[in-house]
């Protein structure tokens, strides 16, 4: 089992403190759900952990050993599915897969995933938003990084694809630690092992949908 731990994460935008000495830990074998209202710092947190957003302070460790944030990308510690689509629109699915995986066996594993064969000859720019999101998730999920961060993986996804994604993530967590943030809270709650809510720069542990309402993320019933 591997443990990714980040402590004392502090981030401000001007005078507004978004993350205030915030701590987070994720282990391989678990899915950690992160909730928060718009602007609460969910995406910023993921970008800080990935090393592409500056923070005022952060101590990052992997299995207790310090990791410099600038080494997260070169050392392939965390794979990241950002909110924005990131694939070259002019390339076909069957040409993008070899860009990510040079090994034929790895390519086959991806080609044999549900739905991929059907869209193999389609250009990324011609895929529906749901198909594109699903394909992007499969690409980053198949990388060998021990940790995976997903920013809104259920956005624009049709119900059938949602089930495929949930099944895939449940399989994937056997070998990875997954951090997931999405406003589709029921989908996240159905697969996550632990959940936190970002509020006023701090993390609140969440056990149920009711607690999301109690803490002001959902309307009170």
């Amino acid at each position: 089992m591997q443990i990714l731990s980040a402590t004392n994460i502090t981030k401000s935008f001007g005078k507004r403190k978004v993350l205030s000495a915030f701590d987070i830990e994720c282990r391989t074998g678990e899915i950690l759900g992160i909730f928060g209202r718009n602007g609460s710092g969910k995406s910023t947190l993921l970008k800080i952990l990935f090393g592409i957003e500056h923070s005022e302070s952060l101590q990052l460790t992997l299995n207790g050993n310090p990791v410099r944030v600038k080494d997260v990308i070169p050392n392939s510690v965390i794979a990241y599915l950002p909110q924005d689509t990131f694939l070259p629109k002019t390339l076909k699915v069957r040409d993008i897969i070899p860009m990510y995986f040079e090994n034929g066996e790895q390519q086959d594993r991806l080609f044999y995933q549900p739905e991929i064969h059907r869209i193999a000859n389609t250009r990324a720019g011609s895929l529906s938003p749901g198909e594109l999101r699903y394909f992007e998730l499969l690409l980053v999920g198949h990388l060998s990084h021990p940790f995976l961060m997903l920013d809104e993986p259920f956005s624009m996804i049709e119900p059938l694809h949602k089930e495929l994604i949930k099944n895939y993530l449940n399989e994937l967590k056997a070998s990875k630690g997954i951090i997931i943030t999405d406003h589709y809270y029921r989908d996240v709650l159905s697969i996550s092992d632990r959940n936190i809510l970002l509020k006023d720069g701090k993390a609140i542990t969440i056990e149920s949908e009711n607690e999301l309402a109690d803490n002001g993320y959902l309307p009170s019933k």
């Binding site: 392939s76 990510y100 690409l139």
Partner: protein, 92 residues
């Protein structure tokens, strides 16, 4: 490597156009290899940053930082740039 090739060709497509057009306008062909190894790459990177910015996430996931992508492009362009410079110098 295949992923880097895609980045390299995208940057150098813009770089080559920029360097060639500048050399043609000024009428000084010696500028082509010099620009190809310097400002042309910066033009290509600026183009990529503006029109293909989100594609950097692919490279990040594959272990390439932006700095590594740009520096490798500069390093790789030295060889063809020097060869073109040599050819132009020999035939002019």
């Amino acid at each position: 490597m295949r992923a880097f090739r895609h980045y390299y060709f995208t940057i150098n497509l813009v770089n080559t156009c920029f360097s060639a057009i500048t050399a043609l306008i000024t009428g000084r062909y010696i500028w082509f290899p010099i620009l190809f190894c310097t400002i042309g790459i910066i033009a290509g990177v600026l183009f990529f940053n503006n029109f293909c910015r989100s594609q950097y996430y692919s490279y990040y996931n594959l272990g390439y930082t932006k700095q590594r992508l740009i520096l490798t492009t500069f390093a790789l362009n030295l060889v063809p740039g020097f060869l073109i410079l040599l050819i132009i110098t020999l035939f002019s």
